[in-house]
Amino acid sequence: MSAAPDHTPTMAARGLGERLAPWLPVLLVPALCLAGWLAIPSGSSWLTLTVSGLAMGMMIFIMASGLTLIFGLMDVINFGHGAFVSVGAFCGISVLLALGGWAGAPSLMLNLLAVLLAVCAAMLATGLMGWVFERVIVRPVYGAHLKQILVTMGGLIITEQLILAIWGPDAIFFSRPETLKGAITFAGAALEKYRLLAVAFGLILFLAMRGVLRTTRIGLIVRAGVENGEMVEALGYRLRRVFIGVFVAGSALAGLGGVMWGLYQEVITAHMGGETLVLVFIVVIIGGLGSVEGCFIGALMVGLMQNYVAFLEPKLALVSNIALMVAVLMWRPQGMVPVVKAK
């Protein structure tokens, strides 16, 4: 046999279409904004709805990001994810109401401190709950999708009943902290301060999450684990421990999303997690199971679509996101940013 040849491979120049292909899902967000701008007669209304849609999208992304990674890493379908949203909202808002003096003061610093403490309480509670949930409910049903659906759905129902037992059956209405109320006017459009804050916070969180996934070793393990967990273990990494960490972090993020959603709606109910779960699953599916980037794009599209359609044709608002999911899956059956899974 001859000696090893000297390889001098070269890179072929890619065409414009080929270079644009990975960015197509990203371009869908501005395309949807443009479609909304063409369809909505008033520019100021369009701007208000766009900010509102983006804010809603960011909150759904925060709730959904953990779920997509949980599925991607261990093939776990967690219908109990909505429980973390509800528990996070109730714990966080309870803290906020207990800090009524700070939340009601006309001081941005005190208001943000109150929100920060509420968020910390919610994330701590749901992170801990996620750890217990994984050990008690999810771990016995690894690899059995039907059992996962049944048992995690049961977990959601039990959690909702516990919330009703602890906080009572009535919805809790409340006001946002003083400086987060109201709106600013920009280009003739009224833009709610809280929505702008939600957009900024969601964007920062997405970039931070992306940074962790792209630049750290743990991020590398998670990304590789989503694609081929077996090989990650064969390299010497204890993927089960990573998964527990992701499950806890995902649960805490859902709790954070619950607080933000509660502040957005200014009302919380025991069933709010279950209700948002539909949107969360739509986002995870159209984004591509296991893809954080896809989840982010999907969440923005769902938020925008919901707001535009609710303005243009309120009766169609409920079905608009289902239609969006059908359209995306017809275009890309694996979701917008599909994650290649090893067989």
Partner: protein, 240 residues
Amino acid sequence: MADPILRLSGVSTDIAQYHILHGLDLEVPEGGVTMLLGRNGVGKTTTLRTVMGLWRARAGTITFEGRDITALPTPDIARAGIAYVPEDMGIFTDLTVEENMTLAAVSGPVDPDRLDWIFATFPPLRTFWRSAAGNLSGGQKQMLAIARAMAEERRLYLIDEPTKGLAPAIIATMAAALRALKAQGASILLVEQNFAVASMLGDSAAVMDDGRVVWAGAMAELAADSALQERLMGLSVERA
């Protein structure tokens, strides 16, 4: 005779309702290339996966450097010093070549000297260092799979059909890489269907049939005996 680096004694493995390995006995000597040969479906891949703990042995024991690893979790088996290159290469296609290599170096960054050696062995990996591994050709992916196993020094390499579907020039590159590993004192258990490659690289061989080792000995002895090859593996037609 020195103790083998890996010993499987009476190992039986089931996959779902199928019994694949039936009391397999196999010894891999230290510091050489042991070829695991046999027809398709006799349990070669299952043997490697059972050693790695990816499929669990129902019966029998597996010892590595004298330590019982039968019930260890896969990550612990890998950290004990065993590298595994699966038949499907196990490349992370969404990650770049660099990220694949970074991940393979479990204990920290890849040693620069070792990386230079890997680049010298597989030059395309330097060229496509920052490219997504999914964009590599089949041969380049196989190079990356082997390179990943080489990223850190391991005591034993389990490699499953590294030349499958590759052009002769790439096969030569693979053979050179495996020889380089062997020269460093590593032990290699290699599943290979290409008998010419097996003859060239192997020091010893074990031939499997129906989930058992039916013959074990020196590779040179097997390579020199056509009748034995035909009896064990039905190679007469393939070599015609």
